[in-house]
């Protein structure tokens, strides 16, 4: 949706964005682990105006059976937007966009999970966007990786991401809805924080090489900040359990 015409001034004379942030500031983020009773692992994230729940089930038997792989587990992520998550009611069910996002998120998560440890099984990840405010794929992926860790699934590392983009010829970090709709480019990046390997990289709009490099650096630096929030969310949930062990 980038590049739509608008009269809104996205960046003012002082370099402040419409929500008062500077060009290299991320929106406030809140992550909580283990919020669902019935799921094996779950997480809830609030990222600016985004509200997303991620749930993990498995490893469990694969249905339909023909999808099962005798050498490793299959990781199936499903990204879904609630009908009420956007201004204009979204028609429920998978569409072109959510099918693609499910695929890129599955691929990103598959790159860190030790799938060989669970041959013939499926790990199902459900990402439900309750309220959307730009950058949901990255927020969903960030929550999904916390949910996987909460489910006790063996993985190389958590996955964390952030978006950057171009608005009024300025490279800015973590676009909000207005900037996403009326800006010039949007570039979501997700990384493995320890090795800085890229697991998801997409771009909507136009940027030159120099701009992409700058945007990527900014997104990676911001991702590392968000990584700390992910770790904090998990440690908060499990702190009590360990405390008691120490006393025994």
């Amino acid at each position: 949706m980038s590049g739509m015409k608008t009269d809104i001034k996205l960046i003012d004379e002082n370099g402040k964005r419409i929500d008062g942030r500077t060009f290299d500031q991320i929106r406030p983020i809140k992550i909580e682990a283990g919020i669902l009773e019935r799921a094996d692992g779950s997480a809830y994230i609030e990222w600016g105006g985004n509200k997303i729940i991620a749930a993990v089930y498995g490893p469990r038997e694969v249905y339909p059976k023909h999808m099962q792989d005798p050498s490793k587990a299959v990781l199936r992520a499903r990204y879904n937007m609630a009908a009420f998550s956007v201004d204009e009611r979204k028609k429920p069910g998978p569409d072109r966009r959510s099918i693609e996002l499910s695929m890129v998120i599955s691929n990103a998560l598959s790159s860190v999970v030790f799938l060989e440890q669970f041959p013939r099984t499926a790990i199902d990840v459900f990402i439900e966007v309750l309220q959307a405010d730009a950058g949901t794929r990255i927020a969903g992926l960030t929550a999904a990786s916390v949910a996987l860790a909460d489910a006790g699934i063996p993985m190389k590392d958590l996955i964390v991401g952030c978006a950057a983009g171009k608005v009024e010829n300025t490279i800015v970090l973590d676009l909000n809805k207005e900037e996403d709709n009326f800006g010039q480019a949007d570039l979501p990046v997700a990384i493995i924080p320890r090795t800085k390997e890229i697991v998801l990289f997409q771009m909507d709009g136009d940027m030159i090489e120099e701009e992409i490099n700058r945007a990527m650096d900014m997104a990676i630096n911001a991702s590392l900040q968000i990584y700390e929030l992910q770790k904090d969310a998990l440690k908060r949930k499990y702190f009590n359990i360990v405390q008691e062990d120490e006393l025994q």
Binding site: G41, E61, F114, I153, L247
Partner: protein, 226 residues
Amino acid sequence: MEKIREIVLPGEEIILGENKPGNGIYVENGKAYVEYLGVKSIKSGYVNIIPLSGRYQPQKGDKVIGKIVDIMSSNWVVDINAPYLAPLHVNDTPWKVDFGDTSKYLNVGDTILAKVMSVNEVKQVWLTLKEPGLRKLQGGHIITVSPTKVPRIIGKDGSMIKILKEMTNSKIYVGQNGIIWVEGTTESILKVVGAIRLIEREAHIIGLTDRVKEYLSKSKKENDVE
């Protein structure tokens, strides 16, 4: 047990020192990293990660409670709350079963107390009933808990489960897979269910045993008044 107990998360680096990497640790480029969420423990020269969450992973020798979900001519298929269904072959039962007569002994929906006989490298699980104490469970009530909470319900050297059994006058079997079977009067089953939920919920608060005792004796008095 070991003194050092800290929460570790996937991807965290572990300094091994003199020790060797054990469960839940992977080595990459000569450095060791954590595989899943858990607590670090060092035991006899190995660094292990004890998981704090996750599904039941069958291990040889575990006693589990399972439900029959399918019947074949010479084996049953049992759901043991693990990522995989586990077969039970007629040769591993104490009965002499004729070919095709499997449904005479165990039917779909029956519950059994079985033992994990073997787990191979592709995670195929085989169960056995050929040991004293292992049998079909008739009647009773099933409670499901997280497999990571099983050690708390059993308690140190079975202390917690002993209290539950003695104070409620019920028969209890706890499967390593987080499935618990209780038999007794309706009141005692309700009491056990309540106590187990209390253990699950408040496992991290000190003095758990005392609180469970208090809970059980209190509900006893209340029952007497009624």
